[in-house]
Amino acid sequence: MKLNERSLAFYATCDAPVDNAGFLHKKGGRHAAYHRRWFVLRGNMLFYFEEPGSREPVGVIILEGCTVELVEAAEEFAFAVRFAGARVRTYVLAAESQAAMEGWVKALSRASFDYLRLVVRELEQQLAAMRAGGCPPPPCRPRALLPKENGCAVWSAETPAAPTGASPRARPGPEPPPLPPRRRASAPNGPLDSASFAQLHELYGQEVRALRSQWLRSRAQP
């Protein structure tokens, strides 16, 4: 499969803040040795470099659809990034401290685009409900309709492409995003659309709680 690797490399090394970074030991293969690499998490991409100053990543793990688990391994502070499929594929990684491991597990568990999209939708609905009047609703089943108008003049469906790449802003703060597309009954929706954000968050929360109790149990053992 062709892939725009130059753009991938740019995304890996551009100077925006990263979502997590640090040294991890990566297992080469099932019976291979661990290699120490500099890992950078940005969005749903986990890049790894020979070292922090390297100009280009050695590789990338595309994280969409993965689960993150603790594993039994000879290495301390090990965890796994697992992909379901016809052949289960697992990346075993090891951090250099307990705190680093917990930080990575937390960051990677929430790295998917789908998760972020759910957060956006939930906040959109809260804001729309608030603007319509009344208190923000507690997190619950998503509404069927997205707001058509938000009464904010800065928002427009098509932001004109500015030649210099910088668009003028009426007020300080982050630039408001364009309106989301209106849902059409015929448009295909992903499977996660039927799960409310609260349900999915509870699911992730269960995973994290399971990981924690696993870790606590392993700590208790002599």
């Binding site: 892939l3 991938l8 995304y11 997590n20 923000p136 997190p139 982050p174 364009p178």
Partner: protein
């Protein structure tokens, strides 16, 4: 650069956010228009030969620019090489606008800015951080300071 191709292929089989048969022309000089099944899944644009199950290729859509190309087409280019354009031909102005809108929103970075924006707005209106109830208010990825000026 190494990447987990099997997982990317699996991603290409997920339900699409948008999919259509479009004319597609690669960035190389002298390339011709070919019919492709183009499928948008999260922040990837996959393109397939119309009768094949595995994609010919994928484009990661981070830091891309989507430009209208007369009359009913658009192009995608990337910030590190703006002259290198992938061209797409739609069957109508409406389809073209639909794709352009969807592609501009199909990046992790766009979603991140949206969260930060909504969080800020809700906080201004209520004085409360809406991410607190989900236990993610301390996440590095949602901090206001994370935005470039």
């Amino acid at each position: 650069m190494r990447y987990n191709e099997k997982e990317l292929q699996a991603l290409s089989r997920q339900p699409a956010d948008l999919a259509a048969e479009l004319g597609m022309r690669g960035p190389k000089k002298g390339s011709v228009v070919k019919r492709r099944l183009v499928k948008l899944v999260v922040n990837f644009l996959f393109y397939f030969r119309t009768d094949e199950a595995e994609p010919v290729g994928a484009l990661l859509l981070e830091h891309c620019r989507v430009t209208h190309e007369e009359p009913t087409g658009f192009s995608i280019s990337f910030i590190e090489d703006p002259e290198r354009k992938y061209h797409f031909e739609c069957c109508s102005e409406e389809q073209c606008q639909e794709w352009m809108g969807a592609l501009r929103r199909a990046s992790y970075e766009f979603m991140r800015r949206s969260v930060i924006f909504y969080r800020n707005e809700i906080q201004k209106m209520t004085g409360k951080d809406p991410l607190e109830q989900f236990g993610i208010s301390e996440e590095a990825r949602f901090q206001l300071s994370g935005l470039k000026a």
